[in-house]
């Protein structure tokens, strides 16, 4: 069993510490939002989770293209890692979003573009996993996986667009002027600090998890190789 590289060990601890600090910032530093009160605090981690989900989604599509160009298995391992992480974090984002939506909008679920797109993405990931499960030959599995992430990567923005053409009630947080949508609010400076700190923390967690998952993929490959050697 090979040891984790030193940087990874440091990052493990660092991400745990940062997560603790982020939690403290959310609960003790960030001011209470006037209209919604405590429930608004979930938003810091909710957005950060969705952000990590997006990172994984983009990473998977890029890894898919890279695999098709090079036929190098390392891209397949990266793609699989990114998909799995994205799957989990989008799920957390959906659940935290629902917890927030109930007091804010009076319902656990709305067919809002972001929420729905996230749900569709989860379905695409599940389909992706089922596709991989149905194919024995690892090389073909990698190829089909890459093609499917590519198709998914192109269709998801269009899905978002299509649902957005319906009227949206999701609060737009940054940039757009439509924060008049129910539940929107302006962020004060301490809120912004907490927000971006959480975002950074979760990005780091994403990198650490990705690294671990890739290591796991490599180790699994090695085990497979050893098995083959024994059999031959």
């Amino acid at each position: 069993m090979e040891r984790q590289p030193l940087i990874l060990q440091i990052l493990n601890i660092l991400s745990a510490v940062l997560l603790a600090i982020a939690a403290c910032l959310v609960f003790f530093y960030a001011p209470l939002e006037l209209v919604m009160g405590n429930v608004q605090k979930i938003f810091y981690f909710h957005v950060a989770n969705a952000w990590v989900g997006m990172l994984g989604f983009v990473a998977a599509a890029v890894a898919g293209i890279a695999y098709l160009r090079t036929h190098d298995m390392k891209w397949d391992i990266l793609e699989m890692a990114a998909v799995e992480i994205s799957l989990v974090f989008f799920l957390i984002a959906i659940v935290t979003g629902s917890i927030w939506a109930y007091p804010a909008w009076g319902t656990w679920w709305t067919w809002d573009p972001r929420l729905t797109t996230a749900a569709i993405l989860e379905m695409i990931y599940l389909a992706y996993l089922l596709l991989r499960q149905g194919i024995e030959d690892p090389e073909r599995r990698a190829r089909f996986g890459a093609v499917y992430t590519l198709i998914g990567g192109l269709s998801v923005p269009l899905t978002f667009l299509s649902i957005r053409l319906f009227r949206t009630i999701h609060p737009a947080l940054i940039g757009t002027a439509s924060s008049a949508a129910q539940g929107g609010f302006d962020m004060s400076a301490p809120m912004k600090l907490t927000f971006f700190f959480s975002l950074f923390t979760f990005s780091l967690i994403f990198v650490v998890l990705l690294w671990h998952r890739i290591r796991l993929g490599r180790l699994a490959e090695k085990v497979e190789q050893l098995k083959l050697n024994v059999m031959q």
Binding site: M73, D137, P138, E139, E224
Partner: protein, 233 residues
């Protein structure tokens, strides 16, 4: 005609072909022998441009694979243990379709010729679905020679055929080979290939382990040669 150098094929981590060298001169009829799982079919699929080599060099009729695959395919006729034909088309329609895919010139007279060759002229208007296994296989050979290829690849063409059908098939195979075509055929039926091929190569552990000309072995000596080369490998 066929030149293969240091061919490697991996499926994921599993290496099926490990640095295989193989050469066939024009007009040779090579039988590729080997136990199940030795990589015969994989090798043939690579030659047929259906699978990509992981490493190595392949030249067929002077064209490189996979870079010049289209040029190679034009000169290649392939028969596998599957007929590669459509059940809901008649024998003639199947040939018309594949003739169009290969852009065969003067297709109609060529189809008459081919049907005559494989002895299916009388059944040309019948659906392939209604054909026996042996007849399907004969039409598959017809499909493979339709565009008059220089090189022919046969992957276990006798699979699932009864004695009569096998004999009929052998007659056609000889016919096909007699026209100066280069033939590579995989098989595990030694008795059947013994007086068909002009050379026997044994594929084992991902390489050609041994090779012998028919003129160099005594009659019925193929089995002994085959056993010996597998033991040495």
């Amino acid at each position: 005609m066929i030149e293969v150098k240091k061919l490697v094929k991996r499926f994921g981590l599993k290496t099926v072909l490990s640095g295989l060298d193989f050469q066939v001169e024009e007009g040779e009829f090579v039988a590729l022998l080997g136990p199940n799982g030795a990589g015969k079919t994989t090798f043939l699929r690579i030659l047929a441009s259906l699978a990509r080599p992981s490493m190595g060099e392949i030249r067929i009729a002077g064209y490189r694979l996979p870079a010049q695959a289209a040029a190679v395919r034009r000169r290649l006729g392939v028969v596998s243990h599957m007929p590669l034909l459509y059940g809901d088309l008649t024998a003639e329609e199947n040939l018309i379709f594949f003739g169009q895919m290969y852009a065969v010139p003067r297709l109609a007279p060529r189809i008459d010729e081919v049907l005559e060759l494989v002895g299916l002229t009388a059944r040309r208007r019948d659906l392939l679905r209604t054909f026996s296994r042996g007849m399907q296989q004969r039409l598959a050979i017809g499909r493979a020679v339709l565009h008059d290829p220089e090189v022919m690849l046969f992957d276990e063409p006798h699979t699932g055929l009864d004695q009569d059908a096998c004999d009929m098939l052998d007659k056609i195979l000889r016919d096909v080979a007699a026209r100066g075509r280069t033939v590579v055929m995989t098989s595990h039926d030694l008795a059947r290939v013994e007086d068909l091929a002009s050379r026997f190569d044994v594929l084992s552990r991902g390489v050609i382990a041994a090779s012998v000309r028919r003129s160099d072995i005594r009659r019925n000596g193929l089995l002994a040669f085959y056993r010996q080369s597998l033991e040495e490998a």
